[in-house]
Structure formats: structure tokens, C-alpha cells
Symmetry: C3
Subunit: 273 residues, 3 copies
């Protein structure tokens, strides 16, 4: 199912402009190259505008914001919107500080993102900030489990309707919805949370997948999420006794590099709700 | 001896706010995760203040300063001081430029750091800048050896008294003192200096260890220093013929990830003076 | 032939100040250490000026420019010029945005770079911007091949004359000229383009090689280019079935770390035109 999106990315490529945090930026660049895309980074407003113009998609990650890079994000979003490029928002740390919360909500209110991807607590913050139309189910706390899955699916669908885009909530179980359908994905490993940046890498992959598969943004997003999880599984199988999280980080990107559409098809674990 | 501090960190966790240089920031994040802590990075003043508030400890590293991040450091230190959080200062490059020297000394004069960690030349610069009360023994040059060890221990003790905190001087022999006791640690390998960032990683680990062990800051700091050295030793034993410094970097973080309290106890090499 | 330049770098060391993009900065630091040099990074103008003063060489890479780091580049170039330090310019993305193009051309017009290193499209942009005296052969497109090699060599020689420095154009075939002689180097592997930052690493290596070999800048630059290519070849031979671009990145730096002058001499593939 998801393999075809990966094949298309590998065939057509996708040049992605990333305004992302400086903590994980190198891994973001390498994972894009691993999947068949290409990275560019530029965050000074005037540079960001022009760099976006030569790219196919835009990935905005608010992990280590400053006043100057916020201007760069706005400039890049303006240009990408104007050109009809695909845009992804990763609201890293929304809810943890007012600057992050406000920046994410301002961007969301001002620009039409194709995909907003975060963990459940970040997405809940955005859903509240959007005006409460969606409401946040108090039963959905910081983790999506089999127990609260129905309510979580409902929440994600509602928020996707509200923003008129795709919402991807990642965790032990991943949910990706366009408001009507919701992919429930059960790939990945818990140990991925012991590495910095798998979430940032995923946002960049989502941008590359939807840029290469513009006719099916929901499927492309779900494919990127599944691929990241499958890479985490394969990478774990390749771990030796003395390996730890630093090597695991390398092996995940390596697994993306070596993954074929067929391998993804074989290992993907999803259902549609 | 030191294993118990590591166990407590792994049991309780420690969320550490890092304002650190962009050269080694990814390794800093991964080593914190490897040891059982968690990293957050934020350097814009208003963001830094709020992010510090939700963390348990603060790690300030002046490696790639700019005017904006200095404001972030001050804001974070103010908030951390107000909340009684543990704070570590790594005065990277103090003495190499006036901006670095002045920033380190200004921070040190304005805020009460729990630990100041640097190499001997950086610490000497701070000791002089502090007003010369301590004085700097001309016999202690850029390396601490068995030959000048007595004088070095005396110097570190004096400076710790002067700043009313812990001083950690790293090198072939590491010295950690609260002004009364001085741990002399002989773990580690020379090859660690052929990797960028082991010092930056250590500062973050110190912040995590003392945040998880607030009742014994001296012991926690010494434990972090010993652990980094032991990780360097274990990692070196895991090197293959074709491996070099890039792989060594990964294996050190891997060794931290896989280290148990017992392993640390077995390999630690320290004496108290 | 090239081994002697590497030996001299390992014997004498070379402290290189890098103002470089934050995407690949960690690899730049580690590759310098791998080759026998040492890295320092500082980009705030006043800090950059003083840090340059204590270094032996300067490496300017415009990959993730902002208004503040441009000031740092100018300050560092001024100081390095004043002190007669070797300076390398890597005009990453020149031609992709006006800010990058203008910054590269302004720096080039204002300062005498010992080496300008880029891919063919970046170098063509600079050659045009310099005033068209050189002219750009329309037959030389985005790749140098055996077919257009004669014209490419001629172009590189002309541009080197024009800037009165060394020009290094990297690609499947690398050309390095001082205006009279042109080294044509055929080391390296195509897979290196699937990793971020091998170009940035090379610029830093060039700075280290010419700082340690000031009496022969052309030879030193060619040696650095050949070494990076040879490292890519050795690293590829060390790849396992499940390895991908992230591990390849580590193995390339590892190969630099383990390379002796003799190994470089044995594997170098060059001709002089």
C-alpha cells in the first residue's frame, strides 16, 4: 500500500526547504537524502523567500525559535503559499512556552498548512488555541492507547476538519486523518524516543512524500509515518550488543536509505477508521 | 561508589535546559537521553525563561555565543536561580576572546552556579577575572599531571571556596572539588580529545546528575565526570580496525546508554584528597 | 605525491576558524580533528575577529547565512587578511538566492581568498558576477565530464587568473588550478552526494592543508580534494549490507582519521593539465 508513495519519491525526487531547529538539522538533511529527496536550509527572511521559491515543498519546525527565524518562517510560508507548494508544520514544544504556542497558532491561523504533525499534547494545544471549536477531550492525555483510541480518532478527525488539512499525531500509535478517513499506524519502536530528532526527521519526510505525491496528501503523509516506524524496526534488528542510541540513530537513517517500496509494503501495519 | 548517582538519574530522570553551542548540540541531546535524562534547547530570551521554568536543571555553554543568545543565557539563569534549579556553567573558550571571557565572568559574578566545569586554562581565566583573590599558580600550565597535582588540587579547592560552588577541571586527570574535598579521577582516554564535544556532553551530564542528586552535588558531579571517562574507555574497547573518531563519538554515547551503575562502580578510578 | 601534504598537517597541526552553516558544522569539526587539524567556531563579529587572530587559517562557508553571521564573516576576513592567514571561501548556494550570490561576490571582491571552492554552477555564478571578464562557457553545464573537460579546465584556469588565487571545482571530476597548472582528480564516489556535508568538510580540510603547507597552496588544495575522495572510496569498501548514508558519513570521517600519507599516495588518481 505505502510502498508506491516511496517509489514515487525515489523516482521524482523532492527538494525540501527546511526551517528547523539546530539540534537535529543534520539528521533531517541526511534522512531526506536517504529517502530520495534533497534538503535546503535557509532562515534569514530574504534568503528563505528565494530558497523556498526554488524548492518543491516547505518544512517548518519551531524547535529552536528566535525572533529572526520566525520572520524567516513567515517569509517562506508566504512564498510557498503563493506558489502552491506543500507545507508541513511541526509545532515542537507548543504548550511548553508562550512563544512557541503563539508562533505555532499564528502560523496556523495565517497559512494553510497541508499537514500539521505533532505529538498529542502539542496538537491539543493547537486545537484549543484555534478557538475551541474542536474542544479537547479530557480523556485523551499524553498518550494514545488502544483504550482511548476511539476518542483519539474522533479528536484527530475533528481537528483535521477544522484546519482543512491533514493532522498527524505521532506516538506509540500514530493517527493520520484528513477529517474523513483516519489511518491508524502501529509501526515503530519505543526505543526511538531515546534518540533526539526522529520526530523532526519525520516532518521532513512528510514534506518530501507529499511533494512527490501531491495527488494524495493523506496517503503520502501516512506512508512517511509508516516508513519512519518501519525504519525504526529494521534498525533495531541491526543492533549489536554494544550499540546504543547514537548508533541506533545512524541505523534508522541507514534503514530509510536501504528501504524499497516492497519492504515498506511488507512491514506496514495500518488500519483505516 | 558513583553507580548510585547514575541509578538515581535513570530512576528519576532529569529534564535539562541547554543553551549550548550549535557545533555539538546534537551529541549533547543524545548523551542526555543515553544517561536517562531529557534535553530541551531554547535560546531566545523570552522562550528560554519559560523553558527553564519547566525543566529541572540548566546547562550554560558559551561555545558559539552571539549577542542574542547571551540575553537568553541571562534570562534562563535568572529564572533558574529564582526557582532554585541546579545550574552548570561551561566557559568554553574563556581566555580565547574578550567576549567569551567577559561573558563567562559576568555570568559567574551575577549568578550562583552550582558547578563550573572547564579545562585548566579556562578555569584559570575565571579565577583571575574573579578578582585575583585566588591567584593562579604559575606552575599550573595547560595540563594537570602527577607532577603538579598537589598544586592543582590546592588551586581547584581555593577557587571552589571563592565561588562557593563546585569546580570541575577536566583533562588527563580530572579534579572536582567543593573547596574541602577534591575528587581526583583517572578515567578516560587521550583519544577523546580527537572528537569534538566530549566536554560539552560532560557539562550536560553534570547538569543531569546533580539535578537527579540534589542532596550531593559534589558526588553527582564527580560521578558524571567518571562516567564520561569510563564511557570513553568502554567505547575504545569496542573499536574495530577501520573505525575512527566519528565512530568513536557514536560508541561513547552508546557506552553511556548501556552503562549500569555496577559497570560504573567497577571501572571508576578515583581518590579523594 | 599528495601524502607529504597530509604528513605535514599531521605533524604541524592547523587551528582553523570556521564560520560555516549549522547543518554540517559537527562533521566539519570532526573531519578537521580526523586530519590532524583543530576547529574553532565563532560567528558574532567581535568574537569572530579575536578568534581568527589566534587561529592559523579561516574557512568561510555561506550555507546558512543570516545578517549577523555576514558581519562575522567580514570581521573575520578583515582580521585574517591583516594577519596574512590563509582563507578559503565555499560559496554554498551562490546562484540559488540573491543574498547568497551577493554575499559571495561581495566577499570575493573585498578580500583576497587563497582558495575558492564550489561546484561548477556556484563557481560559474561567481565568474559572471566578477564582471564577465572570464565569461562562462555555455557548454559547461552542471557537470564536468570527460567530454567537456578541456573547456572546463580552460574555464577554471581563467577564473583562477582572474581572482589571483586557487579555484577548486568539485564534482565527479575535480579541477584545481592556480591559473597555470590544473590538477584533474578522479577520486571519490558518486554515493558521497547522498550525504549532506562532504563539500563543507572538504572546504575545512582545504583550509587546514594550506595552513599547514603555506609554501604550496595549489598542491595543498589538490591534496585535500584527493584525500576527501580517497576517504569516500575507503569508506565505501568498509560498508556492510545494512549500512546506508548515515553510517557512510561516519566511515568517511573515520577513513580520514586512519589515512596515512602512504595510503593517500597509493590511491590518488590525478593528472596535471
Amino acid at each position: 500500500m505505502f510502498g508506491k508513495y516511496l517509489k514515487k519519491l525515489r523516482e521524482n525526487g523532492a527538494l525540501i526547504h527546511n526551517i528547523t531547529n539546530y539540534v537535529t538539522v543534520n539528521d533531517v538533511a541526511n534522512v531526506l537524502l536517504a529517502a530520495g529527496g534533497s534538503p535546503v536550509m535557509a532562515d534569514e527572511a530574504e534568503d528563505a523567500r528565494e530558497i523556498t521559491a526554488i524548492c518543491g515543498g516547505l518544512n517548518i519546525n519551531i524547535g529552536t525559535l528566535n525572533r529572526n527565524t520566525i520572520k524567516g518562517m513567515v517569509a517562506a510560508c508566504e512564498k510557498a503559499s503563493e506558489l502552491g507548494h506543500k507545507i508541513v508544520l511541526d509545532p515542537v514544544g507548543a504548550g511548553a512556552s508562550s512563544m512557541r504556542t503563539e508562533t505555532a497558532i499564528n502560523l496556523m491561523n495565517r497559512f494553510q498548512f497541508d499537514v500539521i504533525k505533532g505529538n498529542i499534547s502539542e496538537i491539543k494545544v493547537l486545537a484549543c488555541g484555534k478557538g475551541g471549536a474542536v474542544g479537547v477531550d479530557a480523556d485523551i492525555n499524553d498518550r494514545i492507547t488502544e483504550k482511548n483510541l476511539d476518542k483519539a480518532v474522533e479528536f484527530v478527525k475533528k481537528f483535521a476538519c477544522d484546519i482543512k488539512g491533514i493532522v498527524a499525531v505521532t506516538g506509540a500509535i500514530d493517527l493520520i486523518s484528513d477529517g474523513k478517513k483516519c489511518f491508524v499506524i502501529r509501526n515503530g519502536r519505543e526505543e526511538m524516543s531515546r534518540i533526539t530528532g526522529t520526530g523532526c526527521q519525520l516532518s521532513a519526510l512528510v514534506a518530501a512524500f507529499i511533494t512527490a505525491n501531491p495527488e494524495d496528501i493523506l496517503g503520502g503523509t501516512a506512508a512517511a509515518v509508516a516508513m519512519m516506524g518501519v525504519a525504526g524496526e529494521i534498525a533495531w534488528e541491526n543492533m549489536y550488543r554494544t550499540d546504543g542510541n547514537s548508533t541506533y540513530r545512524n541505523r534508522i537513517i541507514d534503514a530509510v536509505y536501504n528501504m524499497s517500496g516492497e519492504m515498506l509494503d511488507e512491514r506496514e501495519r495500518y488500519e483505516i477508521r
